[in-house]
């Protein structure tokens, strides 16, 4: 039973050893050179302008929350889509009601102005 996990142990050791080699071999071979550009988080990327802990505008949260709530509802459409032939027109009608309720919610959100950006 325990011997089943032996390959996993080998794998873990290999990962650890490879990590150490990749981290310490290049500096040892190439030597080390200090400069201001080397201390940047992204040496050859876009230079960050502010700290990462800024505050986000509240509209980000609102949009994200609305996305989640509508996105998750799609989970009920997948099983229906797999069985749509077997369920026939009855299934289509049921799904139409389901989507209609979601649509009502979307209209409500839209009319309330929650989809306006930055107003």
């Amino acid at each position: 039973m325990l011997s089943d996990y032996f390959p996993l142990l080998i794998f873990l050791i290999a990962v650890f050893v490879f990590g150490l080699i990749a981290l310490y071999l290049p500096p040892w071979l190439a030597g080390h050179l200090d400069s201001a550009a080397k201390d940047l988080p992204y040496e050859s990327g876009i230079v960050p302008r502010t700290g990462a802990r800024r505050r986000f505008a509240i509209s980000f949260y609102l949009t994200a929350m609305l996305f989640i709530i509508f996105d998750i509802e799609a989970i009920f459409i997948y099983p229906w889509a797999v069985n749509v032939k077997g369920l026939g027109w009855f299934g289509v009608a049921e799904m139409a009601v389901f989507v209609a309720v979601l649509l009502v919610a979307l209209i409500y959100v839209w009319r309330k102005g929650a989809l306006e950006w930055g107003s």
Partner: protein, 488 residues
């Protein structure tokens, strides 16, 4: 491949009341967008019409035994009993809402949508015969109530109460669900019928099945939380105090009723064969609720907090009726729930009316001399206090009497003795309210707004019902007896 739909038992008639309530919520959602802000009172009228429609839809289901949607919901007398009770509570709540909301500048249509959503969840819970529908019902009512407790968005206390309710409610939901998963794992079924079949089968040795017992334990924690029974009551006083009073009025009676409907279906109808296993923990919860509720209520100076603890105590009395596990005792429980709904709703409605009248402070000292300022409110409050204490000739007396009788018949002595002693203790804090209202008023100028017809009607009817049912309890007891004959 064709799927056999008829085997599932699709029957929209069985859940018509719930559908009407949910449909009304969608209609009100639409109307909220088009109705100008100063006409929002009409949304209350639409809500009441929808609820009356649901009431009409639920009556024909009385006496039936319609299991539908793959045994997940049932339309039987118990569901109708709770539907009627819950719809009545909701109509009364909505009727007294506009005045309170207007006084606090909370005139938003979303209030009615959320109330309807919560009601639909409670009705679903009362009709649920599957772990899935029990979960859906509880969550539908909980999520609506999370928002409603924070409905006074700019009030710090309301926000705080919403956050506490949300976090502790989510915690309880986790336990409830884990219990359901364990029960499903132990029995291989999510419908109560399937679970009951497993536990009664001789081969299953259900009473020794650790997975099942652990699952039932976790499930009980979740349900006890919703019914605010000790020791899972910690959220109750803070949430009741911080939430807008009208919301407290609604949830203090409606949530508790719906939760006990589920308790009845789970413990009495599904697990009677292993009652020896759940009897002791449940008795302990009941006794604990009686102790905590009644003793802490004495020290409270805020009327909302006092009623919160009194509600915890009443959860204990209601749970006592579940202990014998017989239909006869359960009918006493149902009568108690109905009586509690009327009198506790009335008591909180008076607090709401006083708050809407310009006296926001729920501190008991502000109620000094209420008899001289507001004779009608003080009189009905006296009736409700006497009834909550269980003094004849009010409905509260018979509620306690029937439950105690059931305990005597079942020879359950220890919880009975605790209940009797605690009832005597409770006289103190209920009568104290009356004494404070009778005391000579301080010379304070209080702005007085008229009660309005809906509020005075609701309060009058609730007060009258408390007294009339206290003199003629037979009618409701008869209904309760017929509703309590659970069958699967």
């Amino acid at each position: 491949m064709t799927i056999n739909i008829s085997g599932i038992g699709i029957d929209y008639g069985a859940i018509l009341p719930e559908l009407v309530v949910a449909g009304t919520a969608i209609v009100v959602l639409f109307l909220e967008l088009v109705v100008p802000p100063d006409r929002r009172r009409w949304l209350a009228a639409v809500t009441v019409i929808g609820l009356l429609g649901a009431l009409v839809a639920t009556i024909p289901l009385w006496g039936q035994n319609r299991s539908a949607f793959g045994d997940t919901v049932i339309a039987d007398s118990l569901a109708v009993f709770f539907n009627v009770l819950l719809i009545a509570i909701t109509i009364a709540t909505v009727a007294i809402s506009p005045r309170y909301l207007h006084a606090l500048d909370l005139d938003y249509g979303e209030y009615y949508i959320l109330i309807l959503g919560a009601t639909a969840g409670m009705m679903l819970l009362a009709a649920a015969t599957s772990l899935m529908t029990i979960f859906l019902g509880i969550e539908l009512l909980s999520i609506s109530l999370y928002v409603l407790s924070g409905f006074a968005r700019t009030t710090l206390r309301s926000q705080e109460s919403a956050l506490k309710y949300l976090l502790l409610g989510g915690f309880a939901t986790g336990f409830l669900l884990y219990g359901m998963a364990l029960i499903y794992g132990a029995t291989g079924s999510t419908t109560l019928r399937g679970i009951a079949a497993f536990t009664t089968a001789a081969s299953s040795n259900a009473a020794g099945n650790v997975l099942l017992l652990l699952g039932i334990g976790f499930l009980s924690v979740g349900l006890a939380f919703k019914a605010s029974a000790a020791p899972f009551h910690m959220w109750t006083p803070d949430v009741y105090e911080g939430a807008p009073t009208i919301v407290t009025t609604f949830m203090s009676v409606a949530t508790k009723s719906a939760a006990f409907a589920a308790v009845g279906r789970v413990f009495i109808a599904t697990f009677p064969s292993i009652s020896s296993r759940w009897y002791f923990p449940l008795a302990l919860i009941a006794i604990f609720s009686l102790f905590i509720g009644n003793l802490v209520a004495i020290t409270q100076d805020n009327i909302k907090r006092m009623l919160a603890y009194s509600g915890i105590a009443h959860a204990g009395y209601i749970l006592l009726g579940v202990l014998p596990g017989t239909a006869q005792a359960f009918s006493a429980t149902l009568f108690y729930i109905a009586a509690y709904s009327v009198m506790n709703f009335g008591a909180f409605a008076v607090v709401t009316a006083v708050a809407a009248g310009g006296e926001q402070n729920a501190d008991l000292s502000h109620w000094r001399g209420l008899f001289y300022r507001r004779p009608f409110l003080a009189t009905v409050m006296t009736i409700f206090m006497l009834s909550l204490a269980g003094i004849p000739p009010t409905v509260g007396f018979f509620a306690k009497l029937f439950v105690f009788q059931a305990l005597v018949n079942a020879q359950i002595w220890a919880p009975l003795i605790v209940a009797v002693i605690m009832t005597i203790v409770s006289f103190y804090y209920y009568l104290r309210v009356i004494v404070i209202m009778l005391a000579a008023p301080d010379e304070v100028a209080v702005e007085k707004r008229p009660l309005g017809i809906p509020t005075s009607t609701v309060l009058g009817v609730a007060g009258l019902a408390t007294v009339v049912l206290g003199i003629f309890p037979a009618v409701v007891l008869d209904w309760a007896t017929r509703a309590a004959s659970l069958h699967f």
